[in-house]
């Protein structure tokens, strides 16, 4: 089980009065095994939403809960994939993936089995003993995803995970993530400013306003994906060519552009 709920959540940075209001009355429910993407202009507070679910930051008002329990601190039930990978440079790929399992005090044999599985899942087997700085950005992000998946988390939190990758690598990783989600579905909260990425990956897309961030609208992608059977296409560019995809993408673009226009950007 892994459901996420934002209930009347505000976030103010700085002093309680006179601080900067980053998030204003966020309400969102993400069901078990649902993939929800939040898109919004930079600085709208979308990453802050994710950080509150992760337990890195408390809300200023309202409640962020996972499985009905208010989040108070970080934990391995909510695995995070960071934009800048955040791998431990002094640990090998294997040791990076293994750390969370050691923290769970699993016996060595069981850890080895799980790490091997995660390495296989992300096609990292030949790099198990490499150090992060010896790997490309795409490879490093595979390690970070393996490190998150191996914990078998209820919720996967991805903060612009492909934002630091080049365009080609990004496409490969997006397809990879779709493959993963099919093999091993998870509740995913995915933050991005790339509209195509959100439409391609998510069941629902939440569009946020400029600061103070509010949820402007939530679009249902899954019903369109199923009705138009996007999944019969293997490649991302084929999906992106579909009229139904283009329509949704344009709708979100317009919604975001109104935001920018309203503030003269």
């Amino acid at each position: 089980m892994g459901s996420i709920r934002f209930d009347k959540v505000d976030k103010v940075f700085g002093p309680a009065s006179g601080g900067v209001k980053a998030l204003d009355d966020i309400n969102l429910e993400i069901g078990d095994k649902e993939f929800v993407a939040i898109v919004g202009p930079s600085g709208c507070g979308k990453t802050t939403c994710l950080r509150m679910v992760a337990g890195f930051e408390p809300p200023s008002a309202g409640i962020v809960s996972v499985n009905g329990k208010a989040v108070t601190e970080p934990g391995p039930d909510r695995a995070v994939v960071f934009q800048q990978f955040a791998l431990f440079p002094w640990k090998s790929v294997r040791e990076n993936i293994e750390l969370g399992l050691r923290n769970k005090n699993l016996p060595k044999a069981e850890r080895d089995g799980l790490v091997a599985g995660a390495l296989r899942l992300m096609n990292l087997e030949s790099h198990a003993d490499a150090f992060p700085h010896q790997l490309s950005g795409g490879m490093q992000q595979r390690v970070a995803i393996a490190r998150a998946y191996v914990l078998d988390p209820e919720v996967l939190l991805m903060d612009e995970p492909f934002g630091a990758l080049d365009a080609q690598t990004r496409v490969v990783m997006q397809e990879e993530l779709v493959r993963l989600a099919r093999v091993n579905p998870r509740t995913v909260l995915f933050i991005t400013h790339a509209v195509e990425e959100a439409v391609y990956l998510a069941d629902r897309v939440a569009v946020m306003t400029r600061r103070p961030g509010r949820i402007k609208e939530v679009l249902d992608i899954r019903s369109v994906r199923q009705a138009e059977s996007w999944d019969r296409h293997e490649r991302i560019e084929d999906v992106m060519d579909l009229e139904s995809f283009v329509h949704l993408r344009t709708q979100i673009w317009k919604s975001l552009r109104e935001e920018k226009g309203a503030h003269g950007v």
Binding site: G75, A86, W90
Partner: protein, 262 residues
């Protein structure tokens, strides 16, 4: 405009010029009697004395023997400073309350020059090994603590968040995240500690010791044996340089190993 970097050979040439210029000036001052020989022995005298002291005892031991007993105290003092300072610094970098407890006290103590501990070193330990160790410790401890603390405190926040998200407990956080992340800073601190410790040592031995280079120099001064005093100074300088060069090599090796070539 960017200055053109010197080639290695040119760098050595300039360095040699500085060194020989200095020795030349020194030789001239004593050779022409500008400064009486008794007050400023010539470089040749010092070198001869240095070589002589390598095999002939003065104040109860040869120069290498004095150096060995100095180095032993030094090693104890610096290691003690590292074994207390580094863990304490890491703990202060992780537990905020410990930081709050220790920092005000430490900020006061660290401005007391190591040599200021001499009266108590003499009172508590006489001429035993404890006195010099206390003084070396006073010199070497602050950089160990400060650098471990800063290293731990300024670890990339994302790495701490990643470790917390993975369920890492306090002990493992300190040993497997803070310690390796702070290692470059700790190693720089150890280098500074090693230098300050070596400086403090000789100061300590001038007063509270019955052997060692500092002791040898005080005995020599009492006999107005100025070349011996200078030979001792040269030995201190050379050993200090050797320690620094070794630690620099260690630091560079560590950086290379981590792929952090600078």
């Amino acid at each position: 405009m960017q200055p053109i970097p010197l080639r290695m050979s040119e760098k050595w040439a300039w360095g040699a010029l500085g060194l020989f210029g200095f020795i030349g000036l020194w030789a001239a001052l004593s050779a022409f009697g500008i400064v009486p020989r008794q007050f400023l022995p010539s470089p040749i005298d010092v070198l001869a004395r240095f070589v002589h002291l390598l095999t002939n005892p003065f104040a109860g031991a040869t120069l290498p023997q004095h150096l060995a007993s100095s180095f032993q105290r030094y090693a104890y003092g610096v290691l003690l400073a590292a074994f207390i300072g580094v863990p304490l610094g890491l703990l202060m970098g992780w537990f905020r309350w410990l930081d709050d407890v220790v920092t005000p006290l430490f900020d006061g103590l660290r401005f007391i020059a190591p040599i200021a501990w001499v009266p108590f070193a003499a009172l508590w330990f006489g001429v035993g090994i404890g006195g010099p160790i206390l003084i070396i410790f006073a010199g070497a401890f602050p950089p160990c603590l400060i650098n471990a603390y800063r290293g731990a405190r300024f670890v990339e926040p994302r790495l701490i968040e990643a470790a917390r998200m993975l369920g890492t407990g306090h002990l493992r956080m300190i040993l497997e995240i803070l310690l390796p992340a702070a290692t470059p800073s700790i190693v720089s601190g150890l280098r500074v500690s090693a230098g300050l410790g070596w400086q403090s040592l000789v100061g300590a031995e001038l007063i509270v010791a019955a052997a060692g280079v500092g002791f040898m120099m005080v005995q020599a001064q009492a006999n107005v044996a100025t070349p011996t005093v200078m030979a001792g100074m040269a030995a201190i300088g050379l050993v200090g340089m050797a320690i620094d060069v070794m630690l620099r090599q260690g630091e560079a090796w560590l950086r290379r190993r981590r792929g952090l070539q600078v």
